[in-house]
């Protein structure tokens, strides 16, 4: 089984995010970058499949030099090799532009399965995996929490409102992973030391013959509104308190 896992490097969810002076990007000075948590499910699933069925896992990531850290983490988890598409200007680009580049890098690898996270926790666009499937001419099983691969076919389960839908397609296919698919492993120390010696290829968009074509751009980024201070419900008796609380919930919070 030849598996590709696409990895995006995103700000750690613990990082304090500040909007940069241009109002369209984030201030990256103080940010800790990590592998998109949903992509970890993809890496884990790929490693499990290869353990059972044999094969190779290649991780692919696009962006500035720092993205190598996320790729190395995947190698330390157990992936076999990595491809880094180096483009210093790609973070915050049109997801379609990113998808085009990824497709160009994935195509020559002729994978049986391509994994994505179902969304990236930074921009939440959720578009890249579908666009790549389209560019590669592969079927896509999206938001998958359970996966079986056998006899050239893939069967994936997606939860929908308390029920599930089971999707089937023939390989090669694109899968986008949802929380619940598995419990991603930590990169072990032996894995970290081995990762140093694993192949990591760097390619430029030009090497891939990919041209940047952004159809959309970020117009503005807005910080969340400041949290309003809490309010103490006034009243002497339980009845009064309850009545005042109900009033506040109705008139101010407008939730009842």
């Amino acid at each position: 089984m030849n598996i590709v896992v696409c990895i995006k490097q995103v700000p750690d969810t613990e990082s304090v995010i500040k909007i940069a002076g241009d109002g369209k990007s984030i201030d990256t000075g103080d940010i800790k970058w990590v592998m998109n948590p949903y992509d970890e499910f993809g890496v884990e699933e790929a490693l499990r499949i290869v353990k059972d069925q044999g094969g190779e896992v290649t991780v692919v990531g696009a962006g500035p030099a720092r993205v190598v850290e996320a790729l190395r983490t995947a190698l330390a988890m157990g992936a076999d090799k990595a491809v880094h598409i180096q483009d210093d200007d790609l973070y915050g680009a049109d997801p379609i532009a990113v998808a085009k580049m990824l497709a160009k890098a994935i195509e020559p690898l002729s994978p049986d399965v391509v994994f994505f996270g179902q969304r990236a926790v930074d921009d939440d666009s959720g578009v890249v995996s579908s666009a790549v499937a389209e560019y590669l001419g592969m079927p896509q099983l999206s938001v998958i929490t359970k996966l079986e691969i056998a006899d050239g076919k893939v069967k994936g389960t997606r939860p929908i409102e308390g029920q599930t839908v089971v999707l089937e397609a023939s390989l090669p296919a694109v899968i986008s992973a949802q929380k619940g698919l598995n419990e991603p492993r930590y990169a072990s120390l032996p894995g970290i030391m081995k990762a140093k010696k694993k192949p990591l290829e760097t390619k430029t968009p030009a090497d891939l013959g990919a041209e940047r074509s952004d159809f959309i751009e970020i117009a503005t980024l807005n910080p969340p509104p400041d949290r309003a201070p809490g309010k103490t419900v006034e009243g002497e008796t339980a009845q009064e308190l309850a009545a005042n609380l109900a009033k506040l919930l109705k008139e101010e919070a407008k939730v009842i």
């Binding site: 000075g29 190395r72 330390a76 930590y186 072990s188 120390l189 970290i192 201070p229």
Partner: protein, 597 residues
């Protein structure tokens, strides 16, 4: 640091340090960073959720977590590859130790296991012993403990040792009798390093298995903190230890004990920084969430000052400790695990930095105690109740000033080692002292011209602090000669001056490197923490100097000495309030320690 000259242990006192020879956390390799992340993820994902069971000393849970840690490689960084470990550098171990340090009691179990429990075999075991014991210890399938202390043998572990070993008649076993006290992991360890005197004379170490006939452990101690760690007696009643389980050589127990303690000391420092960073995070978050008088208490200057002092102290300890570990790594470079003399050579290399190891132990444990105390204070009443983690952090921290050599014993080691080396001519401290006495009359702080560069004044004051150490220690040595050892009050103050000189220089070196790497603007917080730290410490240096001088002299002599000390430590205070407000702003912004890797 291959082609650079490695500074001598204690050598920093003699003059400025080449920044290239001072490792800083900003120089972590990609692997170091991944090790930090893996360890942090393991603590957050596996240890923290089991906190209640760990605190209840649930053996099965602790054993399972140790095995998980072993599987991840978190127990084998110091164990050579051929014996199931990873044989990594000491910075890697320091990274693991710091992150595990955030896990409270588990850190103590893991630390005793990988440190004092495992290292005696790594450094002093023969091939058979290593093959037999190390793979299980590195994997965490067996847990190790270290039995040195006895009821009558605490700080005086060798002199007070009453545990006896006698060769059996058939020559196949040593028969051990005695009782070890306060043994970490006692309740669940399978392997014990036990110290005993052969024929009441030769202090030696043995590898003792729990299953050997005559070995048992006592009840759990009821402790102030680290309740999830096991602390018991180890009882040896005609315990039969096969002769091949003698570790290293007969009569060489003290060598093992002291060298393993050196490692234990800087490692304790690493764990302390981890714990302190955790407490600072709790403090910053609480201060932002808690409102009184209509605003978050984080907006009050009194609270900001606390947060800034906590951060600056952590910065000083972290800079000192990683600098020391870098020195030790440089010293160990080129000593191969395959060398039959590996243990002797490696422990000599580590022993070279015994002064730095003691500095790390004292500084780390005291910074931690300062930080957890202020953490409770910032929490107000909520810091005193167990619903919030501050209360437990406060109790858990306290042991660090007691074990791995009490801080008094470690403080005594500092001037003790320095003077020993000076006497042997290894460290030219006496010559430096004589030279200083010659110069000091001519010296005027007003005449000093400093280069026009950031931190020039701080770099200068760090050097002057070292001169003050040499001045006071030199006069003490001259005054008391061989009897200086009985002047513990002076030795304690000299130790404090040495510790703070090293810490201040470590702050400056690191900030200068940050300026070179990031530019002044981005390195601002490094500079602010350096200045804020020195602003607190420098006035204290003069107090220690004067108190020491006042004890050893009087009249005109004393006055002359004090003029000398005052000249050396003449200090123009900074605007500490502004500096600490700037640091606090960063702490609040980052929800904790302002630097990350």
């Amino acid at each position: 640091m291959a082609d650079k000259e490695i500074p001598q242990g204690g050598g920093f006192l003699l003059g400025p340090t080449d920044p290239a020879a001072a490792f800083v956390p900003e120089e972590f390799s990609d692997e170091h960073k991944m090790i930090l992340t893996t360890t942090a993820d393991f603590v957050a994902g596996d240890i923290v959720p089991m906190d209640e069971q760990i605190e209840a000393k649930d053996h099965a849970v602790v054993k399972k977590l140790m095995a998980s840690a072993g599987e991840l490689g978190l127990l084998g960084s110091d164990v050579p590859e051929e014996f199931g470990g990873l044989g990594l550098d000491k910075i890697s171990t320091a990274c693991i130790t710091e992150e595990i340090g955030k896990s409270g009691s588990f850190a103590v179990a893991q630390g005793a296991h990988t440190g004092i429990g495992t290292l005696p075999i790594v450094y002093y075991g023969n091939k058979e012993q290593k093959e037999k014991y190390l793979p299980d210890l590195a994997a965490g399938t067996k847990i190790a403990a270290y039995g040195l202390t006895e009821a009558g043998a605490g700080s005086d572990a060798v002199g007070g040792c009453r545990t006896k070993a006698v060769l059996s008649e058939d020559g196949k076993h040593y028969i051990l009798n005695g009782e070890k006290m306060f043994i970490t992991n006692g309740g669940w360890a399978e392997t014990f390093i036990v110290f005993a005197k052969i024929d009441n004379a030769e202090f030696s170490a043995f590898i003792v298995e729990r299953d050997f006939p005559g070995v048992s452990t006592g009840a759990e101690e009821h402790k102030m903190g680290i309740n999830g760690s096991s602390t018991t007696t180890v009882i040896l009643e005609d315990a039969q230890v096969p002769v091949e389980n003698l570790l290293y050589e007969k009569g060489k127990g003290a060598t093992i004990a002291m060298n393993v303690l050196n490692i234990g000391r800087y490692k304790l420092g690493c764990a302390a920084i981890g714990g302190a960073k955790g407490a600072l995070t709790q403090s910053a978050k609480f201060a932002k969430d808690r409102s009184q008088f209509g605003m978050p208490i984080a907006e009050f200057g009194a609270i900001q000052e606390k947060l800034a002092k906590m951060a600056a102290k952590i910065y000083a300890a972290e800079s000192s400790i990683f600098r020391s570990v870098g020195l030790i790594d440089a010293g160990l470079e080129g000593i191969s695990h395959d060398d039959p003399e590996y243990g002797a050579k490696a422990s000599a290399a580590i022993r070279e930095y015994a002064v730095e190891c003691s500095i790390d132990k004292v500084l780390g444990s005291e910074v931690l105690d300062y930080v957890v105390d202020e953490c409770v204070q910032i929490h107000g009443g909520y810091g005193y109740v167990s619903e919030y983690p501050a209360e437990r952090a406060y109790r858990d921290a306290r042991i660090n000033r007691i074990f791995e050599g009490t801080n008094e014993i470690n403080r005594m080691t500092i001037p003790g080692e320095l003077l020993k080396r000076a006497m042997k001519g290894k460290l030219p401290l006496m010559a430096a002292g004589q030279k200083l006495l010659g110069e000091i009359m001519e010296y005027s702080p007003l005449m000093v011209e400093l280069p026009d560069e950031p931190l020039a004044y701080e770099a200068h004051m760090a050097e002057m602090a070292k001169k003050a150490v040499i001045f006071v220690a030199g006069l003490a040595a001259q005054t008391y000669m061989q009897k200086l050892i009985h002047q513990q009050e002076i030795l304690m103050r000299v130790a404090d001056m040495v510790i703070e000189s090293f810490a201040m220089e470590s702050c400056v070196l690191r900030a200068k490197k940050a300026i070179d790497a990031l530019g002044e603007e981005k390195a601002q917080v490094y500079m602010d923490m350096t200045k804020a730290y020195m602003d607190e410490v420098l006035p204290q240096m003069l107090i220690w100097a004067n108190e020491s001088l006042a004890a050893m002299s009087e009249g005109d002599d004393l006055r002359t000495m004090m003029i000398g000390a005052r000249k050396l430590l003449k200090y123009q205070p900074a605007n500490g309030v502004a500096l600490r407000r700037a640091v606090a702003a960063r702490v609040l912004d980052k929800n904790g320690y302002p630097l990350s890797y």
